[in-house]
């Protein structure tokens, strides 16, 4: 099954990268850009029959390694 994990930085955590990219976009004349945040998406292919079980397993992986719970939140979506 294909699983998409989106890992997002918690809103209250500073995001120097986003700030820098926004500044660069303004420099390039894209002044309409009000905010920029960069997150990660992890695409996994996981063997399994039961979407609920796969979902639970991947959520466990997120807590273990994929996401950093101090800084990030995550969402898991199973397709196919």
């Amino acid at each position: 099954m294909k699983v998409t994990v989106e890992i997002t930085r918690r809103p209250e955590i500073a995001d120097p990268q986003g700030t820098t990219i926004q500044r660069a976009l303004h420099d390039l004349g894209h002044n309409e850009v009000m905010s920029v945040r960069v997150d990660r998406v992890i695409h996994l292919e996981v063997e399994g029959e039961d979407p609920n079980r796969v979902q639970a397993r991947v959520e466990e992986m997120c807590r273990q390694v994929l996401a950093n719970p101090v800084l990030e939140d995550f969402t898991v979506a199973v397709s196919e």
């Binding site: 120097p16 990268q17 820098t20 990219i21 660069a24 420099d27 390039l28 960069v38």
Partner: protein, 214 residues
């Protein structure tokens, strides 16, 4: 004959490069990235560091600096253009060299001496070296892994033991004309035996010799 050493916000090897060029008898001047006239210069170096914090992708933001228009012009005019480490990344982003640099195979920053072999002497960096010559200079990068789906890059030097996964083991890459070169390890860190090696001198001397008056 003057060499512009470009300083982007976040560049950190500019003093070292200027020092190396000067100590080899060259004339180096630090140039802020907002400068848009390099007509007084005979060659240009983009030194290492973390231009714009390497945010988004290494070199991605730096390539839009005003000075890059001039770097492009000089490259087109056949003038010597050298990108070291982060400078190599910027030249790839700007399309002046083929390919791109991605994270090292082992996902760790690597700072140590590496052995290189010269594989092409028809470039402004390697013209004073012998084919097959061994060069020992420091590598210092996290994104040193060169990929080139177009397979058009000319490999000027390769790693003897590939440390980062680079395609063809490439450590230095030139454009078709040989006047634009990107090198991942740092020649300017190899100019003094007291610090471990003087092998970088041959490279930088070749670069200085390639300068022709504007």
């Amino acid at each position: 004959m003057r060499i512009a050493v470009v300083v982007f916000p976040g560049t950190n090897c500019e003093m070292d490069v200027a020092h190396a060029i000067t100590s080899l008898g060259g004339d180096a001047e630090l140039i802020w990235h907002r400068e848009n006239d390099l007509s007084d210069f005979d060659g240009v170096v983009l030194p290492g560091g973390f231009a714009h914090g390497d945010y988004l992708r290494t070199g991605a933001i730096a390539r839009f600096s005003p000075v890059m228009g001039e770097v492009e012009r000089m490259a087109g005019d056949g003038k010597p253009v050298l990108g070291i480490c982060n400078g190599f990344q910027i030249l790839c982003e700007a399309g002046l060299l083929p390919g791109a640099l991605i994270a090292n195979r082992d996902l760790a920053f690597i700072c140590r001496f590496v052995d290189l072999e010269v594989t092409d002497t028809d470039t402004v960096l390697t013209r004073s070296a012998e084919l097959g010559q061994r060069i020992r200079i420091p590598l210092n990068s996290y994104e040193g892994n060169w990929v080139d789906p177009s397979n058009t890059g000319r490999v000027a030097m390769r790693y003897v033991d590939d440390p980062n996964g680079s395609q063809q083991g490439a450590a230095a890459v030139a454009n078709a004309g040989g006047n634009v070169v990107g090198v991942m390890p740092h020649p300017e860190r190899g100019i003094d035996e007291l610090l471990g090696s003087g092998d970088g001198r041959a490279l930088l001397e070749g670069f200085l010799d390639s300068l022709v008056p504007a």
